[in-house]
């Protein structure tokens, strides 16, 4: 065996555990899911028979599924855009020489480490129209009370806000690290070129953060597209299915309706949608930035 072959073999030996892990826990379930999506009845848990693309065709007739997809897109795009925008502004401030920056960073990161169930229930109680803190505060200020989670137009945006609150610490942390990684001499060169603060942000910081923005956009978008816990715990998908996110619909279809084949088809479609969105984000945001 040549030295090169031995090196390759060693590399594969080290990679083997990871490859096995991905095969067993990721690729195998995807394959099983695809198999199940082509069957009617109760594949995986009971009797089933081959149904071809019937499950997929049914999705187009399932108004609830289409509504859930719409709500999910609003939720995912809203969460991603607001998380990134707010995180960018906060990170730009916190990356600078601010006295209380470590305290503020810790406060911002805190929601990220709190259990999802706890934060969802906490917000549910804060937003309760009759006993919640928020409405109590509004009343104190002489403002009308709001039906945050029972107003079909507001509920989805309340979920977006909670999701932004939850994820912002992580995004801020990543952005701060990226901002601090931008060499200082680039800012100095730009200042000598006549750039003021706003130019430095627009022409240096923002473009050089593009790889980070892409990374965060993909991560937050995928997590939001798969979101289930938040509507499940805070609204149960209501009011009038306004917050019935796609994953919740799949969950209900599979475990309430026990329609495993159809739920698998729904999941597989979501898998393809996420794949497409991630590809589009790469096309849109990917910049080749190599420092010299």
């Amino acid at each position: 065996m040549t030295y090169k072959q031995r090196r390759a073999l060693t590399a594969y030996a080290f990679l083997l555990p990871a490859i096995l892990y991905f095969l067993v826990f990721f690729f195998w379930p995807i394959a099983i899911e695809f198999w199940a999506s082509l069957r009617s009845g109760q594949p995986l848990i009971g009797e089933s028979e081959f149904a071809g693309l019937k499950n997929y065709i049914y999705i187009f007739k399932d108004r609830l599924a289409i509504k859930a997809m719409g709500a999910t897109l609003i939720y995912a795009v809203g969460s991603t855009v607001f998380t990134l925008l707010i995180a960018l502004v906060l990170a730009s401030i916190l990356a600078g020489p601010l006295k209380a920056r470590n305290t503020i960073r810790a406060i911002l990161f805190f929601p990220y480490i709190v259990s999802f169930v706890i934060s969802a229930l906490m917000w549910k109680s804060i937003l309760d129209p009759y006993t919640g803190l928020l409405n109590a505060a509004l009343l104190k200020l002489g403002l009308p009370q709001q039906y945050w989670l029972t107003d079909p137009d507001a509920a989805i945006w309340v979920l977006v806000a909670v999701s932004v609150w939850k994820d912002i610490g992580y995004a801020v942390l990543i952005y701060i690290a990226a901002i601090q990684g931008i060499p200082n001499h680039l800012y100095q060169a730009a200042e000598l070129d006549g750039a003021k603060r706003r130019h430095l942000f627009r022409d240096i910081t923002l473009p050089l953060l593009m790889p980070t923005t892409l990374f965060l956009a993909v991560i937050v978008m995928i997590a939001s597209m798969q979101e289930m816990a938040l509507p499940y715990l805070m609204t149960g998908g209501g009011p009038a299915n306004a917050t019935r996110l796609y994953s919740l619909h799949v969950f209900d279809t599979a475990f309430q309706g026990l329609n495993i084949g159809y739920a698998s088809a729904l999941s597989f479609v979501m898998f393809l949608v996420i794949l497409f969105i991630t590809w589009a984000q790469f096309k849109l945001l990917n910049r080749d930035i190599r420092h010299t």
Binding site: P183, H185, L186, Q188, A189, A190, E191, L192, D193, G194, A195, K196, H199, D203, I204, P207, L208, M210, R287, D288, I289, R290, H291, T292
Partner: protein, 352 residues
């Protein structure tokens, strides 16, 4: 174009004083080189002129304008950094035109100025490339081009050639010299390489611990150093220093087997002094003081011999051309009076 005047310029970092009060005048169109060892404050001084460091006190005047507290972009200076500082996400054209874009110059004008600078610097074929796709020399040219297009009153160079290999450094040095002749703009150049300083400068400013040790033309500093520090810093190989004491009618070189020198008449009897002589100014003579060589460097056209003096200092001899000399051989040296310097060993001040 404009000259630069520094009046009582001082720079502190908290309690640490980097530059005590310093005065300097750089003439219009002059090529001025700040030279000195690492940490002597030369880059700090340059960055203070650029406005990248705040002035603690004093005044910086460019042309007739006091720019002491102006934004770096409003001082009329352009700077070339040691690591080029090119914007990695912009191509060469955008890098070079960025300052003009910020100044809201018309697009056609920007294109024209960038094209002309690219032509001067041989970058025409690289305008669409990103910095990462260029070699070190090309990146340095882009950095210079970025400075040129702004047509600044003063160019500032912060060790611009130190990241290049030896061959490219020599070539870029010549190009910079030509550029200065073509543009005629005031240039301030920071380096620790005294060959760059000697070859490029109209005026050299030797700095140590933030203070100016001497200002002068390269040959003035070489021929007439004000103190031991300047004498040792300017010239390559560096000047040799030997301990000596005043004896009867001249200096006795304790470091060279008690060789007797016929100069140093003004030095008080018994006073220890330091005698300095450049390696190229030593004469080989059979009657001279003997010196055993520890190592020999044959460079083809020139041969250097090295020895360690009893006082511990290194001693270098230019053996004049190609010579068949080896380590362990003894050479005999004559120290010509007119080429020697006498320094006070305590203050370093030149006595003769």
């Amino acid at each position: 174009m404009a000259g630069v005047t520094l009046k009582s310029v001082r720079k502190d970092y908290g309690a640490v004083n980097a530059i005590p009060e310093l005065d300097l005048t750089i003439g219009d169109g002059e090529f001025c080189v700040f030279v000195g060892p690492s940490g002597c404050g030369k880059s700090t001084l340059l960055r203070t002129i650029a406005g990248l460091e705040d002035l603690s006190s004093g005044q910086i005047v460019i042309g007739d304008t006091d720019v002491s507290h102006r934004h770096p972009g409003e001082r009329g200076v352009a700077m070339v950094f040691q690591n080029y500082a090119l914007y990695p996400h912009m191509n060469v054209r955008q890098n070079m035109g960025y300052a003009l874009k910020l100044a809201r110059e018309p697009k056609a004008m920007i294109a024209d100025k960038v094209a002309r600078a690219a032509e001067t610097l041989g970058l025409v074929d690289y305008l669409e490339r990103k910095p990462a796709e260029l070699s070190g020399g090309q990146r340095q040219r882009v950095a210079i081009g970025r400075a040129i297009v702004r047509n600044p009153k003063v160019f500032l160079f912060d060790e611009p050639l130190s990241n290049l290999d030896a061959e490219l450094r020599t070539r870029m040095r010549l190009e910079l010299s030509d550029l200065h002749k073509t543009l005629g703009t005031t240039m301030i150049y920071v380096t620790h390489d005294q060959v760059e300083a000697m070859t490029l400068a109209d005026k050299i400013v030797v700095l140590r611990a933030g203070k100016i040790e001497q200002v002068g033309t390269p040959l003035e500093l070489y021929d007439n150093p004000a103190n031991r520090f300047v004498a040792g810093f300017i010239g390559s190989p560096a000047m040799n220093f030997m301990s000596a004491t005043q004896g009867d009618g001249g200096l006795i070189l304790d470091d060279l087997n008690g060789a007797h020198l016929t100069f140093g008449a003004g030095v008080a009897a018994g006073k220890p002094v330091t005698v300095g002589i450049r390696p190229e100014h030593l004469d080989l003579s059979p009657e001279g003081a003997p010196l055993t060589l520890r190592s020999v460097e044959q460079l083809g056209g020139v041969t250097y011999g090295y020895a360690i003096l009893p006082s511990g200092g290194e001693f270098c001899v230019d053996l004049k051309g190609r010579r068949d000399v080896r380590a362990g051989d003894t050479v005999h040296l004559n120290i010509p009076q007119q080429r020697s310097f006498v320094f006070d060993p305590e203050t370093g001040r030149r006595l003769q």
